[in-house]
Symmetry: C2
Subunit: 300 residues, 2 copies
């Protein structure tokens, strides 16, 4: 029986699936998060340790004949791609030709669409629009990171909420933190004192800030108008990404995916309302590691 | 002759002035930047080295009888304040009572106003509104850092410009970087490729991003409408800070200071236009280290 190994390495974990030719998953697990940012010897060492830990777990269940890995931040045709293929090849005793690595969005796209079929709009901590042409050319819009843009992402939603609360508080002291949104956020932050808020925001964990987006969803659920406005604006931001790709590629089906858009239906509603063309919008969750495993089981 | 030492430790350097009782500066110089973020033994060691280097230079010209230091990020009544006073006291052989340290905005305020007199609006890499009451109570608005807000700051101006260029480029490829603003920014960034832009923005130097605000000023000078719009919006953002303090304290004279508002007159024009009350607006530059030195020369 030929086995393929699929890997989906995102922000919080590296998920792996060992898959048979018929597409059935025979083993699965997850290890520490892996990134494509292999810019130092230390980063490479860290990646090797994670890959070795994964190999130990996987080989217990079977020897894959091919690997397909989607890894966040890994750009194709870079030294990092060669390094990652070599790490995986060595750990699994496979020739480099049997190891395929790409950025995680590449695999995510193929989880929803055939090449060139649709448009992927992803909103997690960051936000990006992604298209993979029949010739495997990638067109990206957004994905500029939280220092420039990332409109409609979890980070963006949390930041808009904090900004709104703090500005209200500055202009009319006492009226920012006492709103429903303010109360919900204060609970998540652990207080309303600027030292507490500052330590949370500037403590170095961007994902932790993105998590605050859930709190904005809770406040909207309880009828907070500011929270509702931010969530609708997030949908509009994400629709901008889709519309930019519509203009360049003609309208086609859209998959709206990632953790952030899921925090409240208002985001998806505003997204659909603001799309320039009436297209199918897919919201279902897929297992990108399983997709990668199925592709890997087809490696010859 | 009694000498006072004034220190202004900001983002790019620590400036010192040795001042006589009559207010005349007898020696001056600058050393590496010093911050009030003394959260680790390494940070404390680094601060000690800078203070020692400064002492070596200063004592060559004379022994100060008092020190007044404005240090960025240093909050009063914190362990960092005690540490900084001890460092300065030891290096200059002065009793702690002869050493006064405060955040840099404290000294900046006193450079323009008597206690409680006016409002200071500062726009550098970040932006903040600052008021020091007759009882030395501080009221701050803004100053939330670039991850939350800092509207109207150099960082904000640069970010709005990058965002505008990249969004235009995404929606109509070729039309973002080819504008006057795009051309100016590409020159400063060293290219238009996303890898180049990303390395510049995410390379870790926030001040370097703020420097790009100058480029937006240049583009506005050459008639770029997007750049002009961003600069006017920056003035509106800074006016928000002043208006928030007007509402809480009643209107009073404003000093609009810092490197960012200086990049183009449009910022100050929009600022004045959007103020809720007609007040005097001071734009002149002052030497905060000299102010600190004059205060220090009065220490008994």
């Amino acid at each position: 029986m030929t086995l393929g190994l699929g890997i989906d390495a995102g922000g919080t974990a590296t998920r792996w699936r060992l898959v048979e030719e018929d597409g059935k998953c025979v083993a699965q697990g997850s290890v520490d998060p892996l990134t494509g940012h292999l810019f130092s010897a230390a980063a490479e060492d860290r990646a090797r340790q994670i890959v070795d830990a994964m190999a130990k777990a996987v080989l217990h269940s079977g020897q894959p004949m091919g690997i397909v890995a989607g890894i966040t931040g890994l750009t194709r045709d870079t030294p990092a791609e060669a390094t990652m293929r070599a790490l995986l090849g060595t750990a699994f005793n496979l020739a480099p030709a049997k190891v395929f690595v790409a950025e995680d969005m590449w695999i995510a796209y193929l989880s929803y669409f055939a090449l060139g079929e649709g448009i992927l709009i992803y909103s997690g901590t960051g936000s990006i629009g992604y298209y993979l042409s029949p010739d495997k050319e990638v067109i990206r819009v957004g994905g500029r990171g939280n220092l420039i843009d990332d409109g409609g992402s979890g980070f963006w939603i949390a930041r808009e909420a904090l900004k709104a609360i703090l500005r209200t508080e500055e202009e009319t002291p006492g009226e920012g933190w006492s709103t429903t949104l303010g109360t919900c956020m204060a609970g998540a932050l652990g207080g309303t004192d600027w030292n507490v808020v500052r330590a949370f925001v500037y403590g170095g964990d961007r994902g932790k800030i993105g998590e605050l987006a859930r709190v904005v969803g809770d406040a909207a659920e309880r009828g907070d108008k500011t929270a509702e406005g931010i969530l609708r604006a997030a949908g509009t931001e994400l629709a901008r990404l889709a519309n930019a790709l519509f203009r360049r590629l003609a309208p086609r089906p859209v998959a709206l995916v990632g953790g952030a858009f899921r925090i409240h239906p208002m985001i998806g509603d505003a997204f659909r309302r603001d799309l320039l063309a009436p297209v199918d919008v897919i919201n279902s969750d897929v297992d990108a590691a399983l997709t990668a495993g199925r592709l890997a089981a087809l490696v010859r």
